[in-house]
């Protein structure tokens, strides 16, 4: 009897394991290994493919490559920070300040724009901000300006677009973590004479740290890997590292160089995630829940 049940369980295991293994090995593990291997191959002078670290040397020798890399990383951290600063008061308002009966509808309203495709959202910003755009139109009408100005294609608008795109991934974890904060802690601090800032830094932020970390990690990662927003909203000078990868793959057709770049991006994103998790003493499986 017992062996029979045992045998049935193994069949179940096999049934569930096969598709999952196929998925993870064929679409995740092997492609990543291939990416890694290809990044160490390049053509020598005779036009043969050989093992070398040329692709990585190119990255360090050409300032445009590593400057773009550093810029992308710095801006992604900035975007994560801005998103946090903007989202925290909103999450606090929804969980602690607004009357409970409005809570549900406000949260729903908050999430609604993010169901819409990123492409459409970026397009919306483009028709708002461009030289013939809606904001310029109103500023001219109101007489605040005499000449339309191009607000698009600047680093600042690119950051605005990236913050907008990633907002959801900061607001949701913040709301859920603030929801679990006991109101009486804030009340007690208030009764004992704490002011707003000390309540913010001594109670709210320490309690919200898990949410802040998971939100920041996701925002950072998505921003780092974003192609659409920097490409459409950034200017000629605001090259994003994913655009370098795209150029190597699609324009120059240098896949080996492109995979070296891809691997560097993957390395950076994993490194920052790892540091974030270590600093906050969390694990990946906890963060994703």
């Amino acid at each position: 009897m017992k062996t029979e049940i045992k045998k049935q369980f193994r069949w179940g295991l096999l049934f569930f394991l096969t598709p999952v293994l196929l998925w993870l090995i064929l679409l995740i593990v092997l492609p990543q290994i291939d990416l890694f291997v290809m990044s160490f191959r390049s053509e020598n002078d005779a036009g043969e493919m050989v093992w070398s670290i040329t692709n990585y040397l190119n990255f360090f020798h050409e300032p445009i490559y590593w400057l773009t890399f550093v810029r992308t990383a710095t801006y992604s951290i900035l975007v994560a920070f801005f998103t946090f600063v903007i989202a925290l008061p909103v999450a606090f308002y929804i969980t602690k300040v607004v009357k409970p009966r409005f809570q549900g509808s406000l949260t729903l309203l908050l999430l609604l724009p993010f169901w819409v495709s990123e492409m459409v959202r970026v397009y919306g910003w483009m028709i708002l901000l461009r030289e013939s755009g809606v904001i310029n139109h109103f500023l001219l009408k109101l007489g605040l300006m005499t000449e339309p100005i191009e607000m698009l294609y600047r680093d600042s608008t690119m950051i605005l677009g990236l913050v907008y795109t990633s907002m959801l991934f900061m607001v949701v974890p913040l709301i859920s973590v603030l929801d679990s904060l006991d109101d009486s802690l804030i009340e007690a601090a208030y009764d004992l004479g704490a002011n707003m800032w000390s309540i913010l830094f001594k109670i709210i932020i320490p309690h919200a740290t898990p949410g802040i970390v998971s939100g920041s990690i996701v925002v950072f990662m998505l921003t780092l890997g974003n192609y659409l927003t920097p490409n459409l909203m950034g200017g000629k000078n605001s090259l994003w590292f994913t655009e370098q990868i795209y150029n190597q793959f699609i324009a120059s057709f240098n896949w080996n160089q492109g995979s070296a770049f891809g691997f560097l991006l993957l390395f950076l994103s994993s490194l920052v995630i790892w540091i974030g998790l270590k600093l906050s003493r969390q694990t990946l499986s906890k963060v994703v829940q």
């Binding site: 179940g12 569930f16 308002y93 602690k96 300040v97 009357k99 495709s117 459409l232």
Partner: protein, 284 residues
């Protein structure tokens, strides 16, 4: 400070204004896009020249509405097909993975769980290029070894489906797992004692219980696939999906047809979001 505490008027008003400004920031681009879809002008910009449905229905040389715009209609159809197959595949594999990690015990379970989460931390662009390279490597190998030309390995419809599937399955797994965790396993034991085998139990009991989560995960999978850009960009062949097609048009200068498409997308996804919310409310 919070609702149970007294607060100064300035604080209350200031906070309200901030939240109001935030919501304006959230909705302004979408509202403007929708409104300009009905502007009787050749460009998606102000001044307002009167209301028209032309960008939906017209079929004139200088103005082709979305309902007659064959290229855009084709790309919408391709996106729907892609999303359909991605949903089907990822719901099946994701549900399998949920059962695997919640109910089975095996060696290397932790490692595999970590691998399952990996697509969340790999940027979409990297997923795209790695799958493109690996499929090309396989294609060359098949060609040289057996002289076989396998269409699947070239950029195109099925490669896009696989690329999107590779990370959407993780999301499905997480959504289904979350509900499976709350499942009372004594129900399964009871059914087994009454003579059901494992698959009968899963089919008649566990899957019934999981249905709301599976539907919700399927809806999310469909939307994620329909809107995906980063991974699709590298795997797309001659059949462009809607986001890719819109991107190409916006990059090279836009007409209000894009507003009309955006309007339909905004209305469509909002409805889908509400329906999805309705289902997840029922689940609680």
């Amino acid at each position: 400070m919070i609702r149970s505490l007294p607060q100064s008027k300035g604080y209350a008003i200031g906070f309200k204004l901030y939240v109001l400004a935030y919501f304006t920031f959230l909705f302004a681009p979408l509202l403007v896009t929708c409104i300009l879809a009905f502007n009787d002008s050749q460009f998606p910009s102000l001044p307002w020249k009167g209301f028209t449905l032309g960008w939906f229905t017209a079929n004139l040389p200088e103005r082709v509405g979305i309902f007659h715009d064959q290229i855009n209609l084709d790309s919408i159809w391709i996106s729907i097909q892609t999303a359909f197959f991605v949903t089907l595949l990822s719901v099946f594999v994701g549900t399998c993975a949920a059962f695997l990690f919640e109910q089975e015990d095996f060696r290397l379970r932790q490692l595999l769980y970590f691998l399952m989460l990996a697509p969340l931390v790999i940027p979409g662009v990297i997923l795209g290029i790695s799958i493109l390279m690996f499929s090309t490597t396989l294609g060359i190998y098949f060609e040289e070894k057996w002289n076989l030309d396998v269409g699947l390995f070239r950029p195109g419809f099925w490669l896009v489906v696989l690329g999107q599937f590779s990370f959407i399955s993780t999301l499905v797994t997480l959504v289904v797992s979350a509900r499976l965790k709350k499942f009372d396993r004594t129900l399964e034991e009871a059914a087994m004692n009454l003579g059901a085998n494992r698959f009968e139990v899963i089919w008649h009991i566990t899957l019934k219980y999981l249905r709301p989560a599976i539907i919700a995960a399927g809806a999310v999978a469909f939307l994620m696939s329909f809107e995906n850009f980063n991974t699709t960009l590298f795997l797309v062949g001659s059949e462009a999906t809607l986001p890719i097609n819109l991107y190409l048009q916006v990059r090279d200068g836009s007409t209000p047809v894009i507003n009309a498409i955006s309007f339909l997308l905004i209305v469509g996804t909002s409805m889908a979001a509400l329906v999805n919310l309705y289902f997840s409310k029922k689940e609680v």
